[in-house]
């Protein structure tokens, strides 16, 4: 069980958070313009990376804010956290 450094509350136990899957999948602004394939891509297709993954977490038993986490899915090591709308920290 990891510790997540909520950008709003600080370090808290993983059990306070909910995972929200891959980050930076932007909901299309004009869904009706998309082909079925493109829509399916948004809806279901995932990188599901083994290694450094950008993902969303929600501090659901805390401030209830969504934010982004950079985590290595091969060892669960968290490299960075950053708020929604912010650019991922480089390096």
């Amino acid at each position: 069980m990891f510790i997540i450094n909520c950008p709003f509350c600080g370090e808290r136990d993983q059990s306070e958070f909910s995972a929200g899957g891959e980050a930076h999948i932007v909901r299309p602004k004009q869904p009706t313009e998309l082909t079925d394939d493109e829509w399916a891509d948004f809806l279901f297709m995932r990188k599901n990376i083994k290694g450094i993954q950008f993902e969303r977490w929600n501090h659901s038993h805390g401030c209830r804010k969504w934010f982004n986490v950079i985590r290595d899915t091969s060892n669960d090591k968290i490299h960075a956290v950053y708020k929604m709308g912010e650019k991922p920290p480089s390096n």
């Binding site: 909910s18 995972a19 399916a40 990188k47």
Partner: protein, 417 residues
């Protein structure tokens, strides 16, 4: 020629102190080219190779496995086998597998200890009752032997369940499929490996796929740590690592890989003679032939390839176990472990061609793939050999995520099993 396994061969070999048994499978180096390569030496991959050789006469084929065969989810699951699925497509798929299980030991001359001691699914609220009855009706009409049991009948079938109306979520009834049960997981991988090897299939262990070589929209072969292997057909059966292989081929799949945990107790004399699953309070348990209580926990909600899960999940499962079986409070957990399961949005698998010619995927089994092993192998072999799905797996194509024609089995698969 391989030894035929029987009591007579055991007796005969005992005279020579068992020093003359042959290898169950060879340990070959990869050839330069095969007619097909199966990526992933778990039960599904080995079964695919077995049926490719047996039914489709494709014998110049190989199974490449990153580690040791059967070391992934085949060797990490709680071995529940059943076919009481809701939708016709799923019922067809899983019952096809169940029928193969019923003759598997004889078919591959390897005792997989298929134990048809029945699987019960318990209902704990009124909607559970509706859902399970719906499934039972559908099962009956699909020729699957599931029946509805009242709470009293549940108690009679498995007397140690706490069916008191005073518990937090009382047992309101359940379903029973008597043909369902468990099998010895390792034996399935080993038995298929031995059978496939005998027909000439090369099983190459410690062989990690590093890349998929494409010639435009057609596959050309795989790069491995043992060199390049040329082939026109690649069947990927890599479970939790399916997306990793897909990324090598430049495609994305509708999968998320998550840790799924299980545990066993110390071995005790027989106390449970069936398999009991409960979605609502999330507990399922059976007892192995060795005497261990085999308990399946759930998946964590985040992607992870660590083969670890969080302790909360184990705690939550044991909590439910003690709610239903208070007598197990003083039993002890001997060992817990995790596997990585690849989960589809509709909780149904993918056995499908892709947009790349010669590249096939068999994945997305989530928490319940073991039960399908023989059927999955058989149908995937058919799909690879004919470049066309069998009618039993045609619904499990990749295109369903585009058309919306999902096979939503969340009701059947809401918990790991």
């Amino acid at each position: 020629m391989k030894n035929n396994y029987s009591i007579f061969s055991l007796l005969k070999n005992s005279l020579s102190y068992h020093e003359n048994w042959k290898q169950a499978w060879r340990d070959p180096e990869p050839k330069k080219e095969y007619d097909a390569v199966i990526v992933g030496g778990g039960g599904h991959g080995l079964a695919t190779a077995f049926y490719l050789a047996k039914k489709h006469n494709m014998k110049n084929i190989a199974v490449v496995e990153k580690g040791w065969i059967g070391g992934g989810n085949t060797g990490r699951n709680t071995t529940i086998i059943r076919s009481n699925y809701l939708w016709d497509a799923s019922a067809g798929l899983y019952d096809h597998a169940l029928k193969l299980w019923e003759n598997l030991s004889q078919e591959i001359n390897y005792n997989v200890m298929f134990s048809q001691r029945g699987v019960m699914n318990l209902a704990h609220n009124l909607q559970d009752v509706r859902d399970l009855k719906r499934r039972t009706h559908a099962n009956r009409l699909n020729g699957i032997d599931a029946v509805w049991l009242t709470a009293e009948e549940v108690k009679k079938f498995c007397p140690i369940i706490n069916t008191s109306p005073d518990i937090r979520y009382p047992v309101l009834g359940g379903t029973l499929q008597r043909r369902a049960g468990t099998a010895r997981h390792d034996a399935v991988a080993w038995g298929y490996a031995r059978g496939a090897d005998a027909m000439g299939v090369d099983i190459i262990q410690n062989c990690e796929v590093k890349g998929i070589k494409r010639n435009r929209d057609t596959v050309d072969g795989i790069e491995t740590n043992k060199g390049f292997i040329k082939t026109k057909k690649i069947g990927v059966v890599a479970a939790g690592h399916s997306s990793v292989i897909a990324n090598m081929a430049g495609i994305r799949l509708p999968l998320e890989s998550k840790p799924l945990q299980a545990l066993v107790s110390e071995p005790v004399k027989p106390i449970i003679d069936t398999v009991i699953m409960s979605n609502a309070v999330h507990a399922y348990v059976s007892q192995s032939d060795k005497g261990e209580l085999v308990i399946g926990a759930g998946t964590d909600a985040y992607v992870s390839y660590t083969q670890r899960g969080s302790h909360d999940i184990v705690e939550g499962t044991l909590k439910a176990i003690l709610e239903l079986y208070p007598i197990f409070s003083r039993m002890k957990m001997l060992r817990q472990w995790g596997g990585i399961v690849d989960i589809c949005p509709d909780a149904s698998p993918i056995i499908s061609k892709t947009n790349i010619k010669g590249l096939y995927f068999n994945c997305g089994w989530g928490t319940g793939g073991f039960k399908a092993t023989p059927g999955s192998g058989d149908l995937f072999a058919h799909t690879i050999a004919n470049d066309e799905p069998h009618k039993l797996n045609s619904a499990f194509n990749l295109n369903r995520f585009v058309s919306g024609d999902l096979v939503d089995e969340h009701g059947a698969a809401a918990v790991a099993h």
